[in-house]
Symmetry: C3
Subunit: 200 residues, 3 copies
């Protein structure tokens, strides 16, 4: 799949935009917004690679990721109003992003020789922990805890990918199915405001 | 000491329960509660092992820990009311847990060849940092900063273990004494609402 | 530069003081204050070294750093009023500290073979992330997001160092210039309450 690398860069770019825009209504200056974009874009993959002891970290070993982030932050600076008006487009990008990063994280963990249970967790972490770290830094309840089905969609997609992989489904088809399922769960959850039940 | 491994699993199980229950009265869905249980259970040991560069992390290298956490989270889901009513029992379990994890963290650090000063810090980190990360994520003042003598009891016990170890006390007796001292300090502090003085 | 090592210890000592004093007006006991001092002093360098996979961490490999922190925390305990009255002196120390740690972080990253772009980020991280972690733990908006030009001064100084280094300026002169520029930017920003513009 030759699309993987450009898609990964694109995902990083989009996460940087959404991270920078996330602090728009707060007391953050442009530097703080850039920093937030940076953390959002690299946080999930960085945590995954630290936990798995996989070095160098993606963005440290391949400088293109840093430039993708810089471009995303710049875009957020230059076109904040346009990008904010594109809320729906950005939401779609974010949904695409978490779906893609989940599967990517699962595949990376498997290829490093880790068990499927660990790969599932790492897939979800890759997708959502950047946002969690961002929210923690800016003193908000992390997205994980407040949104309609979000991280759990990633976990479900990760497990699905692993099950289909176990049954030796062809990788491209598996990718397509797993990513589609994550996206579908998320879109349906937001459309119908579905949440998981609370502990009572 | 053949009890070490099952005790470690039991401690992980109990920490997962208390982590999942910690967000019961908040706006967290079951996934958020499970995530919180997971972070509470693995946070301390994970931070210790990242700082000491000891890989694979305990829960990544041995899948039983993940299942102990899953069981703990499930227990919190299925029996939340019973477990909440067992507040005193849970408190005792938590106290046992931090005492045990402190000494375990000290021993691991020493066995990896680190200095006693570092081992003392790592023992305390093993015990309390899971709770600190959990509290930070859910936007509360970490337990470390608000509770009656908590982390300092662990640090005291860690130092005591190291002193007795320096004087070549037999390991089993040392374990028993150090763990008992941590538990005693904590119980007495809570019973009499003892806190350390504040900076003034 | 034989001054580097004692200066690094001094910087660690000063960061520990400022970290411990930072929670003075809050509900923290002396242990919490000490913990905060510790985290402030080691946070930046620790994050840098974890990201770069450089082990052992500075304070784990060289026990003198731990003692510098202990001394700093003790100073904050014994002389809190004097030190608080020395607010201006402390501010100057902090400014010296971030300037020095920035350049030190850049040099360490370069010496480990990382690209200048990564070195710039790591320089800034070394200087400011200890304070960011501290603020996150005590539930405040991190200094990075609220202060007059702070982290951006470090980033600017880091980039300046890298540019002058690229043009083969002698190291001592480069150090002097880069550190002076960071200090100057920070002092001018605070004196005239300069902030970077916000995203609008």
């Amino acid at each position: 799949m030759d699309l993987q690398y450009p898609l990964e860069l694109l995902g990083t770019f989009v996460f940087a935009i959404s991270g920078a825009l996330a602090v728009r209504d707060k007391e953050h200056d442009v530097f703080g917004a850039g920093f937030t974009g940076f953390v959002t874009a690299i946080g999930g993959g960085t945590l995954r690679d630290l936990l798995l002891d996989s070095h160098p970290l993606v963005w440290i070993g391949d400088i293109h990721f840093l430039y993708a982030i810089l471009l995303g932050v710049l875009a957020a600076f230059v076109f904040p109003k346009i990008l904010s008006r594109l809320r729906k487009t950005m939401f779609l990008f974010d949904t695409l992003g978490i779906a893609f990063f989940t599967v990517l994280g699962v595949e990376k963990s498997l290829s490093l020789g880790f068990r499927p249970e660990i790969a599932a967790i790492m897939g979800m972490f890759s997708a959502v922990m950047g946002g969690v770290i961002r929210d923690t830094l800016v003193n908000e309840i992390p997205i994980l805890f407040r949104k309609e089905i979000y991280a759990s969609a990633c976990l479900a997609g990760a497990i699905l990918y692993l099950v289909l992989n176990y049954f030796a489904l062809q990788r491209d088809i598996n990718l397509l199915i797993s990513i589609s399922v994550i996206i579908s769960i998320r879109l349906i959850a937001v459309r119908y405001k579905l949440s998981l039940p609370r502990l009572d």
